[in-house]
Subunit: 509 residues, 4 copies
């Protein structure tokens, strides 16, 4: 680092009306033993964050500690993808028996070094590190309260509010850093929604989910290597470490298995001795859970399990449901790769129409920093996709996608397919029209940018240049989600972006 150019820029945001909206991923590890040479805490966290990279690509951070009473925290943070943010030397330095990590995607362009999580702060009750996924509906109110208490705030993120609320509750009567359960509960009572949190303190990690269960968080355990490689069967108490992650898809890669989800409102204490449910903060009466349904539709990885079912399976059922609601007579069914593929295959299967790929995705396009010339701007999204012309030339296509946001991509794809010889293109969307903003942590453009607010459904085909455009119904989506959940009474989903029904009101004061 000695010669590295390290610059930080903070142009913005202190006077913004609300805190930043962030999509994020969390990953924590608490080892149950002192690891020998073959396992390294920071490698697990690093790999866990790579597995959550789809949840945030702008920065990453890891904090570890040995867990002894006087052990310091070791912190490494960096901009960019996990692979860019940490060097080999960083990972080597991050020693310890427990730790947490965070990947972050700032949705408002404020991707400053100062905002990289986890946040580490010294409090009356010792050092804590906090990693946060979510967005506080009453951020403005909380900020004012903290300022009035005389706290100076140095970042523009909701997460700093949570950190200060946690340290802001002194309990001198309790020596030794005292009652963290009470302190976290107090914070939860003030913050409402939405958040999943990991809090590292001394020799334990606290895993917390808001009482609506809006953001995901699940617990897993790391198997001994011989079990993970299939060389020995699993015994009941085989556990090398406790893991906690935004998504269960991170577990198989490291030879771990899911244990259970953190419950809505639950405070789970994770130590080397086990996982302990310390408290469940209740929702207001008559309110149901509100797990973000957009995690199923688009955001989560297909191999993640939520509520006992695989995300990919929900997406398949959406395709099946879409086929029942909106069949079409075509020569082939295809997908906009990659998230709509399960739905498209099931749609094809349900209608007994051949499934064929019509688009090849260039995985290297991704984020580019070059502003394109006018010509390329007009051609737009086509650069992400190459047409597999021989598969569709002269044919009628049913093209499945998971959602339409602004509509630019879909319009460009339809043009590409048609100019390359498609006879008809019928667009089928495996979720309802996206019409309302999210203020609980998912980055959705403003209402004015959402094509579903700008163009009536019946004119959508014309707008996109397609032969027909149909959406899955909200009931169809909910059925697809609920059909895979065993205990139907305990569930409940936030569909605000589709239905306008918000579980919690945003407080703009």
């Amino acid at each position: 680092m000695a010669k590295a150019l390290l610059r930080s820029r903070e142009d913005t945001g202190f006077r913004g009306e609300t805190g930043m909206r962030e999509e994020c991923g969390l990953f924590g590890v608490v080892s149950t033993r002192n690891w020998k040479t073959d396992t390294n805490l920071s490698h697990l966290i690093h790999l866990g964050l790579v597995g959550l990279q789809h949840r945030g690509q702008e920065s990453a951070g890891i904090v570890t500690t040995n867990g002894g009473p006087n052990d310091d925290f070791i912190t490494r943070k960096g901009m960019g993808l996990v692979n860019q943010a940490f060097s080999d030397e960083d990972i080597t330095c991050l020693k310890g028996n427990l730790g947490i990590g965070h990947v972050r995607y700032s949705t408002q362009g404020i991707s400053d070094a100062i905002n990289i999580q986890p946040f580490v702060v010294e409090s009356l009750h010792g050092l804590i590190a906090v990693a946060h996924n979510g967005e506080l509906v009453n951020a403005k109110h909380l900020k004012k309260k903290l300022l009035q208490h005389g706290v100076g705030l140095s970042s523009s993120s909701d997460s700093e509010l949570i950190v200060q609320l946690l340290t802001h509750t002194p309990d001198d009567e309790e020596p030794n850093g005292g009652n963290w359960v009470a302190r976290i509960r107090h914070m939860m009572q003030e913050t409402v929604a939405s958040y999943s949190l990991l809090i590292l303190n001394h020799d334990r990690v606290w895993a917390v989910r808001d009482s609506y269960g809006n953001r995901p968080l699940c617990i897993g355990k790391l198997l001994p290597t011989d079990v993970a490689t299939g060389n020995r069967p699993l015994k009941p108490d085989d556990c090398e470490a406790w893991l906690v992650a935004s998504e269960s898809c991170t577990f198989p890669a490291m030879g771990a298995v899911p244990v259970r989800e953190v419950l809505p409102g639950e405070i789970v204490e994770i130590t080397r001795n086990g996982i302990y449910s310390r408290c469940i903060v209740p929702r207001p009466e008559a309110q149901t859970q509100a797990f973000c349904i957009f995690e199923y539709i688009y955001f989560a990885r297909p191999d993640t399990m939520f509520e006992g079912q695989m995300v990919s399976s929900v997406r398949r059922r959406c395709g099946h449901q879409l086929a029942k609601e909106w069949p079409v007579d075509v020569d082939l069914v295809s997908t906009v790769p990659e998230s709509a593929t399960p739905a498209a295959m099931e749609y094809a299967c349900a209608l007994n129409i051949p499934y064929l790929e019509v688009l090849c995705k260039n995985r290297y396009v991704g984020r580019t920093f070059i502003q394109p010339c006018a010509r390329l701007r007009k051609l737009g999204v086509a650069k992400k996709f190459g047409p597999l012309v021989d598969n569709f030339n002269g044919k009628r296509i049913a093209l499945i996608d998971d959602s339409i946001v602004r509509g630019n991509t879909m319009a460009a794809i339809v043009t590409l397919l048609k100019t390359c010889g498609a006879k008809e293109v019928h667009v089928r969307i495996a979720s309802p029209p996206l019409k309302y903003p999210c203020y609980m942590g998912i980055n959705i453009p403003t209402s004015e940018e959402l094509i579903a607010n700008l163009v009536p459904v019946e004119q959508m085909a014309e707008e996109l240049g397609a032969d027909s455009v149909k959406y899955l119904s909200l009931e169809g989506l909910e059925k697809a989600v609920r059909d895979g959940i065993k205990d139907q009474q305990e569930t409940g989903h936030c569909t605000a972006c589709l239905s306008g029904q918000y579980p919690v009101k945003k407080l703009d004061w």
Copy 2:
């Protein structure tokens, strides 16, 4: 750049037995008019290189010029992906009416700044820039010859040999820089194989392919924007620019269409006025074309066209052929994403067995610079793939892949699927066993590392932990390739890595 840390390291290679083997991608543009504000030469080259990124990810370079008699060349080069190698400012500086670009993957760790192409040199006949894809079978001999002529060589790449051969042939009798056709032909007679080349000189680009046609190269033309966006039909002489690329998949992204491939042994001159075939250097008598069959199997993008057919279609036919040769009674067919997917779908279709995804690929794993701890090394490749457990739990799987190199990946995948509940895993490979080294430009490990040389086919299933392992036959592969080619007599493929039959002998002197 003023403050950027610019370091170059050249540890190696001058005493290596042969030049470096390189996988590369080439892209060139010659505009037919002076572009107005809406199209920018360097944006096209940049986008073309992004479309060829799968052919080389270690460095990239672009050279442009205005084409006037005294116009200088503008060069920008960088390490890493195209998006990292060039800044917005670089692309802005790269002005001109014609230019060439190169992406490179050095296969021996020698990825030095000094070796980034295109090479720019001053010769008696003016400035030239050269971009090269391929590997010279007689590199050692050529090097000795050049050294004996008194030329000092400053890089360890075959491409420098080509450059010096081009400048090494003075023809004083011809004023004005004279006869480039003769000069290129002379170089071709000395170099044998393999290469595809772009040579930028003054106001033209020369596109050249070795006489065996081993490496691909094709010509396209850029359509006016209104044609490309479907707002106006194509007229015969619509051409904004001539393009030349390693693969045709680069064309649709910029609103261009393929025109034809450069023929084996052909020298094509591309100017603003058109494309002119200047010469065809013949192969030795009785020898056939030898286009690399591995481009079809694995290397090229599925949406690329070679010899009039889509790569993806060849891969589908390989799956079909594989089903005929090695059917199996299973509950589902699946793929190792992503290149084997077309073959897997067709295999499923031919046997009328459901196709289902069993693995989710984490597209963020890619290249990491962190050395994993022992535990993660043992778990190995699993980190690239998440199991879609619900799709295969308790079922028998036929798992299709395009090829097996060292076998580590496949063994790890089989273990992952089995420990996650697969009842049986039958591996089917859509190409013959890979047994022989390539010395014509494809990076294949040494014979000692190839599992097909280490384990007899009949023991392969046991070695990989699978229930059965079968390969497509060479005849099956060749049929799959030839079935889509119209003029069967004019074709011919190099299958050396599979058959041991090399079109040209390597000269180790």
Copy 3:
């Protein structure tokens, strides 16, 4: 920055016994008019920080604002020298009518991005930016107090304590952000010493010095360009901007002149309308000023003015005094370049002995990150100095230095001179032995590392290999300092590092 690798590392310090000791430089500007194209606020701050670079070389930061009621702050920070920390683009972005900057040298290796000043925080009374030079003697106590109030602290620096103390004092009764004088005074009453501070808030900069006047701070005014270039005489109200700086040496470079020093305990409010002394916080009774005498001896630039006299003049008088106290019969007098040169010249002059340079300093040695091999470690400091052999071969030298810290440098120099032919080397130090640690902001090694604590004065010559070693007396130093000050009653200096007499006790609780 898009692609720049931005990493932050925070290994340390949260459990440290005290805050970090820092040497720093401060610079602030408040323009009196809206500048036209010819003057740019950030250029002035940049140049001011370059002029203070000797006070801190590890990081630099600048914050600017327009001064309107809703104007945001613009912040740029970077590691390294001022010229490395800011790009041209940074300076262009830092627009506004007022701003402050900071250079920092962390003395304990904790040079993290998170600690780069100025700190920007949102408080109940609006945004503030704070730049701090000094070290709080009661940091531990203040930290505990803040933690007990429930504030979480995220850096390990004293400066964060000051920032939180400033925001920690809400005064709801006063609307509009109210009484900053009261708030700053309250902070000053809690912090004791030592600090000089710049606080940027809304449309003004507050310049503050602790009541002992331990760290320097002075005010200047920017002249119109035609006055500064000598093209027009100065008029009384000529003032383009008010400046405030750690040292007056920054002023001539930008065409400015010093106005006065900020007084011990004074709060000065600087607006576009002028400079206003708002308050003087008194010292405890019977206590005198305690301006750091080491600023005169070594730390400050020779062209800086303190207490009405030039630092260089004090150093000359030290040389004169040293000649009176410790004359010696030699052939020539010389210096260890560069800070001892004025003293050496005056010593030579007082004794009427020729002054000649014997060492040439290599100004490029500076900070190197290469760990030397054993041989070079043994030769040590010699690499900084080349011997001017012809000047001293066969001669007796009196070699003047300003101070001896660990003694390694001086021992190596004496060896170098002797092996190159010096007949005798008599060392004369223009200040008393350095024996006691500083906890008010100057980086002095621990007592155990100071050679004056390890070797009795009478054995020092033998230890260093010199023929004699003598120090200036404390009385001699004080006389040299006081002789140039007009109002002798108002002055007073901290000589703790030399005398062990500390103006304020350090509170270790």
Copy 4:
């Protein structure tokens, strides 16, 4: 480097009329034994280059080898100062028993990675690395000759011409790489002037100087550590390594002593067994040596020895001579730091006037990449110097400088001194007016930019705002230089930039 952004830009130069002019520094080491742990070859070269940093600050390179018949070369190069160009890891990697290094300052803004020296090339006679200081007067002619031989040239530097000339002379009759003396002599006969060269080949370094001796080069030997630290007297055959450097000032820092200069036209072969004079290529008859007199005036470090005398001593004699030619009645004599200081002290001494510093140089100003605003541009050079006002207020100053180039600096200094209270400022220049361009390696602006060509000497005082301006005569300078040289007949200096008398004509064809 894996993640470092490595970019190369080559905008320029291929069509330039001549090769680039470069100021450079060379350093080579050949060890006489296999070093144990305590000495590391690359540390010596690194330190040597730091000692030559004043000769070039834009890039640096080091090449080392073990010297065995099949040993490869290890190369590391980087932009910027030596301390920036190499990392600790680089220095560790640069193992071996012999090696050469180079620092470079490109005088025409072409500071591309591709031009960083030493150049490493493979030739018929093995690998060579070449480091070059100088500029070829017949570059254009040589380039044409090489191009006609069919060599492609890939850089715009004279040094590549030398490298190709060296490899361009095959001598097949001599096996084993044969006759390097003949080959170097042949190159010398073609290149005329000016150059000093280090050539690394196999197990030896060739040190070469052009026959006019225009650029410096000297040989030293590394003493055992105990001798270097004064713990043991020198024995005749004490030699740890042979060194070769542009300036002898590099030797004391590493515990080495000068042995002798390489003679004009000499080829010295340096092996572990000793230094051997292999050949002296004669000058044209009746021509004298032409060592660059500007090395004495300004360019070299004061502690360097040329022709048996210290550079600093020559500068002192210039000051003495100036006092005789142009005395003046003033209150004090001073210097423009730092290179004029010896002359100024001697001037003061000769006239018995007090010497006092009037300017403090800010050593951190140096190279900045920030374009100043209009105001600061007008104030110009003042930012480099702070006035020591108390030393000159109300007084008459004789201000000595070594030379005046464009005059901007001196004009700004005179203004600064006058506006700060100087009563009179008399400028005295310790060399004759600089009027003619250099085409042998020193970067001097074009004639049109040199103030001595624009303003008659008699109007110079008015132009600069001074009370008088006087220059040392050419005879005075030559006397000052010659007075310290023992063998007066063997010497001779190039004074072309002052006299217009060039030793060699530049060939512009």
